[in-house]
Subunit: 228 residues, 2 copies
């Protein structure tokens, strides 16, 4: 066991955004400090000595991107020696899924720029951040199969196809639509209203849906079991 | 962002053991250093500057308990300020499920004793280790619903009831036995042999079962979906 230890402790945030138009994206900052100066990276930084890990990741996210999120979930701790060229540093990573429109982006402190990048069009990334995003995406894909998502991402009332789109965007694959609808309705976290959606094309207008808040949060705790 | 940082980085291991006789247990050491001297705790310790997190937890486990395990999975990182009375210390925790009989226990370095404790009869524990064990147990319960377990824990051939027992011990609740058998057989990771089990009581002897190795490891990767 080492008597002295020289390891830095950092946190990084993988914030996923979803809109039905843009699909799934990731919030990145452009570093204005070395190493990897001018390279895109995840928002994050060192933990304060008296600061909880959750507070640290929220603070760094706020400082570097202007984004305030207090419901990030811990993902994984990356600690391979050599992942930071300066010195040994481990990163406790967090992730979350939000609606990008509600946030105003503002780069500051260690960031010279901040932007949402489509998950399929990520730029070159600093450190092992590409690996971290990949791990977060894998976790998110598995998470939406055991917890309902969408409440904070979709409008209050929406056509059923919007929920399908969300699931397909996160899973990055087609789903069995008939089976999907049957299962969702059986879980009971969604309700069909009698309102019709506004017609855009020539199709028959379907009813709008809304989340059953109580059931939704109950199933988030209890877990669901989607086999899509 | 703090210019200087004074946070220690530790790893701790939650090693679960399972036998059909004893049920689910946890491997603990008795600390022979302060703080919490003579109190039971999880095996673990500080990470070396050039050591991966996985190597650190394996080394600490080996040093303090004599147990060699190279397939522990990362659980969660605990980092609340104040969790260690000496100084700020975060712990990256790992967990695994093994067959206790194959290990010879040997306490050394920071441990004066080592033993398996039934999960329902845990002693007073140092630091936040009770919380860590509880989180590991929750994770294990959820894990066995999406990955088959048992290959390393049961005999090569066993009565079906042994698998039921294992699942009930880990989940800590009864299961719907008919439904369980139907699902297990449908997944295909278990095969019925034509050999009968040796009779202990007056019951009708059932056939013995064995794991289909190929299917078992395929389903470990691919995931299953048990609703028990």
């Amino acid at each position: 066991m080492p008597a002295l230890q020289n390891i830095k402790v950092a946190v990084d945030a993988v914030v996923f955004g979803y809109t039905s138009k843009e699909g799934l994206s990731v919030l990145l900052i452009k570093r204005n400090i070395q190493p990897f100066k001018n390279t895109w990276a995840l928002p994050g930084g060192l933990v304060g000595d008296d600061e909880s890990l959750e507070n640290a990741v929220q603070r760094e996210l706020k400082e570097e991107t202007g984004v305030n999120i207090n419901y990030l979930e811990q993902l994984y701790t990356f600690g391979q020696p050599g992942r930071d060229p300066r010195n040994r540093a481990i990163s406790i990573t967090y992730y979350g899924l939000v609606k990008p429109d509600v946030f105003e982006l503002h780069a500051d402190t260690d960031a010279s720029d901040v932007a949402w990048f489509n998950i399929k069009k990520l730029p070159q990334l600093a450190f092992d951040h590409a690996e971290i995003i990949s791990a977060a995406h894998t976790r998110l894909k598995s998470k939406i199969l055991y917890q309902p998502v969408g409440f904070e991402l979709l409008d209050q009332k929406f056509p059923f196809s919007e929920l399908e789109k969300l699931y397909m965007a996160v899973l990055d694959r087609p789903i069995d639509r008939r089976n999907f609808k049957k299962k969702v309705m059986k879980f009971g976290f969604l309700e069909e209203t009698t309102e019709k959606q506004a017609l855009e094309g020539a199709g028959r207008p379907g009813n709008l849906f809304r989340f059953n808040t109580e059931k939704y949060y109950q199933l988030q705790k209890q877990g669901i079991n989607f086999e899509l």
